[in-house]
């Protein structure tokens, strides 16, 4: 459609309205630019506004998440009929092996408990703060955030780790009353200290935005990582408790590896929000250095 003819040279009122239009649009642009600079310098500046909006929209999102879970199991049920026989045989074989492994694991657990008692260490079970649904994610932005259906009212606080049964998902960034925003592991601002599950090869897992992680070794030298190595959280930094599965290495690079995230958030229905592992250590890290406080 052709634009309406408002560029008349004789109509003073029309000219004025065109001018006002440009003026207001230009002012809008400037406001946007100013807000953008503020948010880039102070990412949490408008967090309250955002979490309010997310709270308002989260109930609809939660209904959608329920439908997703239902829909997925529906299709899985249909797909299940096709390979029922071979699948059954395969599962039974795996089950026999798993039973043996389970007994072994139980024995190791008891031995572990006994050794810890000897050392005087107390076993601390982390109880999740809240269970929540993954409502949605910023699927069209270059940043990787997800929304979960638990907020301040459920006891969720910023920086709490979010885990799924398959492994670490991310950490809470902003909390609303009934919903929160989670920084996913694959965001380029996310960095998790990890170690190889079999030994003490330590590394940092950085997000790469395209759904994979970059593992950077802390001790440079000969790269000991092999494809298929599983990495778990090391507990360094005090935020994430140790031994939560994070990623499995796929491609070896010069200073580490490119790894695939184990807990694919797309296949996760429920996530658990866990308390910050070492609250005291975190508080100490965030406090100003002792020298500064003495000087004041």
């Amino acid at each position: 459609m052709a634009p309406p003819k408002i560029r008349s040279s004789s109509n003073r009122k029309a000219q004025l309205s065109v001018f006002t239009g440009y003026l207001i649009a230009g002012m809008g642009t400037l406001i946007g630019a100013a807000l953008l600079i503020i948010s880039l310098m102070q990412p949490q500046a408008l967090a309250g506004l955002r979490s309010m909006a997310t709270d308002a929209a989260s109930s609809a999102g939660e209904a959608g998440a329920t439908a997703r879970t239902g829909g997925k199991s529906f299709f899985e049920a249909i797909a299940g009929y096709y390979r029922a026989g071979s699948r059954n045989a395969e599962l039974e074989r795996e089950m026999r092996i798993a039973r043996v492994r389970l007994v072994e694991a139980e024995a190791i657990r008891q031995e572990n408990a006994r050794l810890k008692r000897t050392l005087g260490l107390r076993e601390r079970d982390t109880q999740p703060v809240a269970l929540a649904r993954l409502i949605g994610s910023t699927s069209s932005s270059a940043r990787r955030f997800a929304y979960i259906s638990a907020g301040r009212e459920d006891g969720v606080r910023p920086e709490m780790p979010v885990v799924s049964p398959m492994g670490l998902v991310g950490r809470v960034l902003e909390t609303g009353a009934r919903s929160s925003r989670v920084l996913l592991l694959t965001d380029s601002e996310s960095m998790v200290p990890v170690r190889r599950s079999t030994d003490n090869v330590v590394a940092f897992a950085e997000g790469r935005t395209d759904g994979s992680l970059r593992l950077r070794l802390i001790n440079l030298g000969i790269n000991p990582i092999k494809p298929g190595d599983v990495f778990v959280t090391s507990g360094a930094g005090g935020l994430f408790r140790p031994n939560v599965a994070v990623a499995v290495a796929e491609t070896i690079t010069r200073d580490g590896a490119i790894a695939r995230v184990l807990s694919n958030p797309a296949a996760t229905d429920y996530v658990a929000v866990e308390p910050v592992w070492q609250q005291e250590a975190r508080a100490m890290l965030r406090a100003p250095p002792a020298a500064e406080t003495e000087a004041e």
């Binding site: 459609m1 634009p3 309406p4 408002i6 560029r7 239009g21 440009y22 207001i24 649009a25 002012m27 809008g28 642009t29 406001i31 946007g32 630019a33 100013a34 807000l35 953008l36 600079i37 503020i38 948010s39 880039l40 990412p43 500046a45 408008l46 506004l49 955002r50 909006a53 997310t54 929209a57 989260s58 609809a60 999102g61 959608g64 998440a65 439908a67 409502i135 949605g136 910023t138 699927s139 069209s140 932005s141 270059a142 940043r143 990787r144 955030f145 929304y147 996913l184 694959t186 965001d187 380029s188 601002e189 790469r208 935005t209 395209d210 759904g211 994979s212 995230v261 958030p265 797309a266």
Partner: protein
């Protein structure tokens, strides 16, 4: 003898022409509502580990602007961009800036090319969406590294392919917008 009058003679695509008129609420509300609704796509249960979804809120605004110039006021970028920013995950303000700039650019485009075919609209939209996705990644605060730039390519292609579908949805909504439902007299 007088033949019976064709019952559809006094109707058109928007309903009967007798005693009915367009509703102001529908005519001006539907575009805004559609754009706001599609800005809510991050609340859809799609948990993506890479940016794959087209920026639907922005594309709806672009499609409305290209199809019905003058329907969205020049300042519409401020409220629409702000709403999009609340959910999109971009730093607040980026949407306002890019939405406003798009509307201003579209105005200059209308002055230069007042009559356009759909193919031209598609070409313009592809170019504008490519610039938008690039600028949005630039201001998002994410590290601009090769994997991010590679990850943006599928999103860009998907957006370009999705534009005709969105334009079609906008024209359907446009018919809804212009339904004669207000009763006169």
């Amino acid at each position: 003898m007088i033949d019976q009058i064709n019952p559809r003679a006094r109707r058109d695509a928007f309903g009967t022409k007798i005693n009915r008129d367009h509703s102001r609420l529908l005519a001006y509300g539907v575009p805004w509502l559609a754009i706001l609704l599609f800005s809510l796509t991050p609340m859809l249960p799609v948990i993506a580990s890479a940016p794959v979804m087209p920026p639907l809120g922005y594309m709806f605004m672009l499609a409305w602007r290209l199809m019905r110039p003058g329907l969205l006021p020049m300042w519409a970028g401020l409220p629409l961009g702000a709403f999009d920013d609340l959910f999109s995950g971009q730093p607040f303000g980026g949407g306002i800036l890019l939405f406003s700039l798009t509307l201003i650019a579209a105005d200059f485009l209308d002055a230069r090319f007042p009559w356009r075919s759909f193919w031209q609209d598609w070409m313009i939209a592809s170019l504008v969406i490519a610039i938008y996705i690039g600028c949005a990644a630039l201001v998002s605060g994410a590290d601009l590294e090769t994997p991010l730039l590679v990850a943006l390519v599928p999103q860009l292609l998907l957006s370009v392919l999705a534009f005709p579908i969105i334009a079609r949805m906008v024209s359907l909504l446009d018919r809804l917008r212009l339904l004669r439902i207000r009763r006169l007299g």
